[in-house]
Symmetry: C2
Subunit: 339 residues, 2 copies
């Protein structure tokens, strides 16, 4: 059996350097890493993962926890995370949160099957996150943040994004505005709403309580909520949705009643996932730089795996309003007081 | 430190039974498993994963390889696989095929980080699959099959599905039919086309070569292909698309030219993912029983992990035509010879 000592001799480096390459350490230069990997390939060195994990306490694997992969935002985020991990030579374990999986993500890190965790759908009161932080495990929050958590966090500036939408709608003279809220707990949901409300208030536009409906980030509940809003005697002229999936549900709700977007009602989303630009939706939305955020989260996590003593870092990425046909191609609908 | 012997005493079972529970063996009854797990929890027994893997040669983890998680079919399939694995107490590692990931899936199984692999996007000439089979590793193919591979396979009857669409279109008097093909290699793509062509030929309807366009299972290329078809002097009256994502692109291509579905052209897909039933698409499509197929694949794989000597099994699930508004609410469009 080939040993790491033989690999070191072949590559002309120390055995410690070979170990660092096996650990995926960032302190090895790309050049040295290549030389060591070439030597491993040449010598046919293939450490058994378990034996390696025992020896190096590194699995070369990063765990990602996600709540709902059937929301198309998450596959797009995961693909970006997966590419960033690939580029760093790391493997990805994915857990679909909610079931027994979330606890098993924590067990995995406790047991050394993964070196660190990316939480993409964290909310207040997550036991796995709290335990991971108590155990001082490497963790990064991506997309959803948590004010109270002392750990690396990469988010979009959701408050600023909400404000952008408020300014855009008020600037076009909308006075009867509805909001399809996300769930109560996620930071994305809370911050988008806070920015939207704050800026509308500053601009003297009221957000009527009866036009604020919880839609739970799902197509079905958004569709139902939109039908309720459009069936009112005083329907809204614009509907801001807490994410793009919700906006697709709102568009479909309007369609199901024979209402036209944007002629009868404007619809706006948040995220700017690929589907938002499809002709069927042509959705005005707030763009968050998904790929860049994913790359940054992976970078921070790998640095922390290398050095747990770093103080927690927060990276907040700017948001941008992308105007498309779900609002722009028609004047503000006339408020229908008597339908 | 608590030992497995103490757990065995506490649960009133043999130490071998505790090992089998740790290995996720199917030969332990649900009742016994519960008793052992309760004893582990009570005693605070938490074997280090690496040590456990060394001892039992079982990681309790199944790897899943997928080519394109941004095609919404795959998140839906993965969620079904993830639920089935959760229910069996197994973890899931996900690899996004194509990058260095696919090779690392094979390394992971070679190294013992995973006990078996689910390939969801296999095509002819996959080195990782071939190597895995040569090494006699537990593998199951799900969704896409491979005639030549001697391993467990769970697929939809894609030939029958293609035949259903041919019968439906011919039965409604369509004579100018287009086909948006998938990529050349996947079995799904080849079998759907084979069934479609065979049945059309049997019914005496020609599939014109100039109306057969490759759309690569992507929204963008389908949209482009559809625009090309509709710009012809002799456009098709119906377009069958190799999967739902392709059909969404076709609908959007029609929309971008001001053409109406189904009044100007009928559009049909394959898979019946959730989005197919959204009002924006309201897509007639062929349903494959995604959740049932995922459950069966996990079942076969766990059986094989327990007993590698089983002969290869193939499970083919029936397909069903689901008729919706993209075809049904309008008569067959009149063939426009001169637009």
């Amino acid at each position: 059996m080939v040993t790491s000592r033989q690999v070191a001799q072949l590559a002309g480096v120390s055995q410690a350097t070979v170990s660092r390459v096996l650990q995926g350490s960032l302190r090895v230069s790309g050049d040295t890493r290549q030389r060591v990997e070439a030597a491993m390939a040449q010598a046919g060195y293939r450490p058994h993962a378990a034996a390696r994990a025992m020896r190096t306490r590194r699995s070369g694997t990063v765990g990602v926890v996600v709540a709902d992969i059937t929301n198309p935002f998450y596959p797009q985020l995961l693909e970006a995370v997966s590419h960033a991990l690939d580029a760093a030579g790391q493997r990805m374990i994915l857990w679909n949160a909610g079931g027994p999986s979330e606890t098993s993500a924590l067990e995995a890190i406790g047991e050394g099957s993964v070196d660190g965790l990316v939480f993409t759908t964290i909310t207040e009161g997550s036991d796995p996150l709290e335990e991971a932080l108590q155990q001082d495990q490497p963790v990064v929050l991506l997309h959803r943040g948590l004010e109270s958590a002392r750990c690396d966090q990469v988010t979009n500036d959701n408050v600023a994004g909400g404000r952008l939408v408020a300014e855009y709608l008020a600037g076009h003279g909308h006075e009867r505005i509805a909001y399809l809220q996300g769930p109560e707990l996620p930071s994305t949901s809370r911050h988008r709403e806070r920015g939207f409300r704050e800026r509308l208030a500053e601009l003297g536009v009221a957000l009527a309580p009866e036009l604020t409906v919880r839609a739970h980030f799902s197509h079905d509940s958004a569709r139902r909520a939109m039908r309720g809003l459009l069936d009112r005697q005083d329907p809204p002229t614009a509907v801001f949705c807490a994410n793009d999936l919700t906006a697709f549900g709102a568009v479909d709700g309007a369609l199901s009643l024979g209402s036209h977007v944007p002629e009868d009602v404007w619809v706006l989303g948040y995220d700017d996932i690929e589907m938002a630009s499809w002709d069927s939706f042509d959705l005005t939305t707030v763009r968050q730089p998904i790929a860049e955020m994913a790359r940054t989260a992976v970078e921070l996590l790998l640095e922390r795996i290398d050095d747990r003593s770093l103080s927690p870092r927060r990276r907040k990425f700017p948001s941008e309003l992308v105007v498309r046909g779900s609002t722009a191609r028609a004047p503000v609908p006339v408020r229908a007081v008597d339908r």
